[in-house]
């Protein structure tokens, strides 16, 4: 019989610390599957962020560096320049990437740095207890926007993919979601594609994954998935925002 | 023996190069040397200057405040530094730009019409080399041969075709010293 499903080799057997219903675990798995499929486990170096995924290095069976808050793209740059043959990816949340680390992500993208960024957007700071993130939706209640995000006072959410797609440096930018099996499969393909772009030396690739935070949203896991689908996707549309391959085809 | 020099003038008169050649020449003669460009607040007042120290011992301060020798290429720098030269020291000043200079007792003072001589050589830019030639002649702090050799090392390759002109200017300046 052919084995069609198994535990990814690139994940350690360790149980994650993530909350019940959190989608980090799914996304970790998708990354590990891509690494397995592409046969790059022995040459991959990951960069863990500050945020809920700070312990990501416990779960991936690949070399890792822990970065300071927001600095992962700079750290990834340093690693990639020393080992151009390595496959380097950062795993960053929305506070990390789109707030404190905006300079790092924009300039890594602008340089066309040949790295892959997995960007988790769940519209809150998870680990610190559910504060407002740069991606928090208008009106959304968080611990630091207790009356709902008031766009007249704190401004608008940042759409990272759209913003980075204006640059000439990136090779591949896609936004995906993990709210149902169909979309999880699509997300897996996007992550794999991003790694393939790096392997081919095409340059900077980023996959934004719309994700849930049932704990800080105060929703059950199922309700959280519904919110993702009904409230987040309309604001953060899914799709490929930039692909140099398609540009070449046109 | 430690010999300390200040080279000063307008920016663009090539005073930094004079200093570099003195330092390089000293190095080629096996001495300890330092060269230090004017920096920060000293830049005010329109003069550029550099300090050079040539010594048999390890050099202490690279910043010279009481020089043994002064090369002043314009009026403001002459005014600024003339009073700092040690007794028994030497001043070479550019008499093309400094028409009247007071005689300072206890100092060897040599007026050199550097711009006029440089013009005679066909290139006003080598006025600094005329002054350096005169300074070397007056103080014997390095040899003319060392200064010429230093030119080859200090000037970028693309300017090496100008070395004969610079050497001619050095020699003209040196010839002023009887």
């Amino acid at each position: 019989m052919q084995k069609v499903f198994g535990y990814p080799r690139s994940l350690t057997p360790k149980r994650t610390h993530y909350c019940p219903g959190c989608t980090h675990g799914i996304i970790h798995r998708l990354i590990a599957e891509a690494i397995d499929d592409l046969g790059i486990q022995e040459q991959t170096v990951g960069i863990a962020p500050v945020g809920c995924a700070v312990l990501a290095y416990e779960y991936f069976d690949v070399d890792f560096q822990e970065a300071a808050h927001g600095r992962a793209p700079a750290v990834a740059t340093g690693i990639k320049r020393v080992h151009p043959e390595a496959i380097v990816f950062s795993y960053q949340g929305d506070g990390d990437l789109a707030s404190i680390g905006t300079a790092e992500i924009i300039h890594a993208a602008a340089r066309g740095e040949n790295i892959t960024v997995i960007f988790i957007n769940n519209t809150v700071y998870g680990m610190t207890g559910g504060q407002m993130a740069p991606t928090t939706l208008p009106g959304q209640k968080t611990t630091t926007s207790p009356y709902g995000r008031d766009i007249t006072k704190v401004g608008y959410p940042i759409r990272v993919c759209e913003m980075l797609a204006t640059l000439d440096g990136p090779a591949y930018i896609e936004r995906v979601s993990v709210h149902d099996p169909k979309h999880i499969i699509k997300a897996g393909r996007a992550i794999r594609k991003a790694f393939e772009m790096q392997i081919a030396g095409k340059g900077f690739s980023l996959v934004e994954v719309l994700s849930t935070c049932p704990t800080n949203w105060g929703l059950t896991p199922v309700k959280a998935l519904e919110r993702l689908k009904e409230e987040m996707i309309p604001y953060y549309p899914l799709g490929v925002f930039r692909s140099t391959e398609e540009v070449a085809k046109e | 023996m430690t010999y300390e020099i200040i080279c000063a003038g307008f920016g663009g008169q090539g005073v930094m190069l004079i200093g570099e050649l003195l330092a390089y020449g000293g190095m080629l003669e096996g001495k300890n040397v330092t060269w230090f460009p004017s920096y920060g607040p000293e830049m005010r007042g329109g003069t550029a200057n550099c300090s050079v120290v040539i010594s048999d011992q390890p050099v202490g301060s690279p910043i010279v405040s009481e020089p043994d020798g002064l090369i002043a290429m314009n009026g403001p720098s002459f005014e600024k530094f003339k009073g700092t030269v040690k007794p028994g020291g030497a001043i070479v000043y550019n008499s093309s730009m400094i028409e009247t200079a007071p005689v300072i007792p206890g100092l060897k003072m040599l007026p050199v019409p550097t711009n006029d001589i440089a013009s005679e050589l066909g290139n006003n830019k080598v006025a600094n080399m005329v002054a350096l030639g005169a300074f070397i002649g007056l103080t014997k702090i390095i040899t003319l041969a060392s200064a010429e050799k230093a030119l080859e090392q200090v000037l970028p390759e693309r300017h090496h075709k100008l070395i004969p002109l610079n050497v001619a200017a050095l020699e003209k300046g040196m010839a002023l010293v009887k």
């Binding site: 040459q43 340093g78 | 330092a23 330092t34 920060g40 050099v59 009481e66």
Partner: protein, 353 residues
């Protein structure tokens, strides 16, 4: 070997290249721009990497990535930029990533000035960033030491897996002096801890300073402190010139040590017994030699371009066994030889302790 004239900043840069540094990440700031400019020209010639980062913050984190991946990585900056790098420096120390950081210091606080200063001594030697950590800090006193100490810095950084700082200033950086350059060396240090990709290793490598699990943080700190004690035992460097018969010893590093040396030479020519103690490592600090000299009845004068930072370490080392005087210039001016000469003379005339 042939002597060549080089500016201090360029001597540092070429010294790094000769010592096998192939990764430079920097950001423009006066008065250290000669270093990134030199590296931008030079790195491509040796198949190295030069990146002008988007900020000092990014530059130090690129160093973290590159150093953690096993490369010989360097960044340089000047005081305000070094303040920005402090977050990264703390992480580098915590994760034990070898690298070299150059501070061509200028006056502060805040934007300060462009003129030379020694007012970053505390920042360099007492931490600078958060947490209990130390950098090895070298203070070059000559152009030749710019070349030699940056080479040593890379070796020591790797030997101890610790970031090393070269603390210098605008005078040392702008001054030209003859130097002898060593040949380019191949670096063959084994770095079994580096993140290279597992490449068949059973366990993945991890570069990390996080210690939230169980006793991790205590373990990390105990390990660091043991390392620091070893560095204090083995790595202290200083120059003692004429301290044997001296009644008064000037303590100074870098630029002020040069000014002091000129003043001391004048005084010794007059038969006065004055010596120079020049710390070459600012951390670890040469405490014992100072304590020994104090026990012999010497008195001290500390000369700094600051309101008095090094002087605190001298007072601690001397520990009330001798008198310590201070002469400092506030940011922007270098003490003249005459000022230091007069200060020493006045102290000698006032008589002993």
């Amino acid at each position: 070997m042939e002597r060549v004239m080089m500016k201090g900043n360029e001597a540092l840069a070429e010294g790094a290249i000769r010592a096998g540094c192939r990764f430079f990440f920097g950001y423009p700031i006066t008065p250290q721009n000669e270093i990134p400019e030199y590296m931008a020209r030079r790195m491509p010639e040796v198949n190295g990497v030069f990146i002008q980062a988007e900020s000092e913050v990014s530059a130090i984190n690129m160093v973290y990535g590159a150093g953690g991946a096993g490369g010989r990585a360097l960044t340089s900056s000047s005081s305000p930029g070094i303040s920005l790098k402090q977050e990264g420096i703390s992480y580098l120390a915590g994760a034990q990533v070898p690298c070299v950081i150059v501070n061509v210091a200028r006056g502060g606080p805040g934007l300060g000035g462009l003129t030379p200063s020694q007012s970053d001594y505390f920042q360099a030697t007492k931490g600078g960033g958060h947490g209990d950590y130390h950098l090895i800090v070298y203070a070059p006193g000559t152009g030749q030491e710019m070349v030699d100490l940056i080479g040593l810095a890379f070796d020591k950084a790797e030997e101890y897996r610790n970031p090393v700082m070269i603390l210098t200033d605008a005078i040392m950086g702008q001054m030209m002096e003859p130097v002898i350059l060593p040949p380019i060396r191949e670096v063959t240090t084994e770095k079994p801890w580096a993140t290279t990709g597992k490449k068949g290793r059973a366990k993945p490598n991890l570069i990390n300073s996080l210690g939230i699990i169980g006793e991790d943080l205590a373990r990390i700190n105990i390990e660091l402190q043991e390392k620091y004690r070893k560095i204090e035992t083995n790595e202290i460097r200083y120059e003692a010139d004429g301290t044997g018969d001296a009644d008064l010893i000037v303590v100074a590093y870098g630029t002020t040590s040069r000014v002091a040396r000129s003043a001391i030479n004048m005084l010794r020519a007059e038969g006065k017994k004055v010596g120079l103690l020049r710390p070459i490592t600012l951390w670890p600090f040469p405490k014992q030699i100072l304590a020994d000299l104090a026990a012999q009845g010497k008195r001290f004068l500390v000369v700094e371009m600051s309101v008095g930072q090094l002087v605190e370490d001298v007072i601690l080392a001397v520990n009330d066994r001798a008198k310590v005087d201070f002469f400092g210039k506030l940011n922007g001016t270098v003490p003249t030889v005459r000022e230091v000469y007069n200060t020493i003379n006045a102290l000698l005339q006032k008589g002993g302790a």
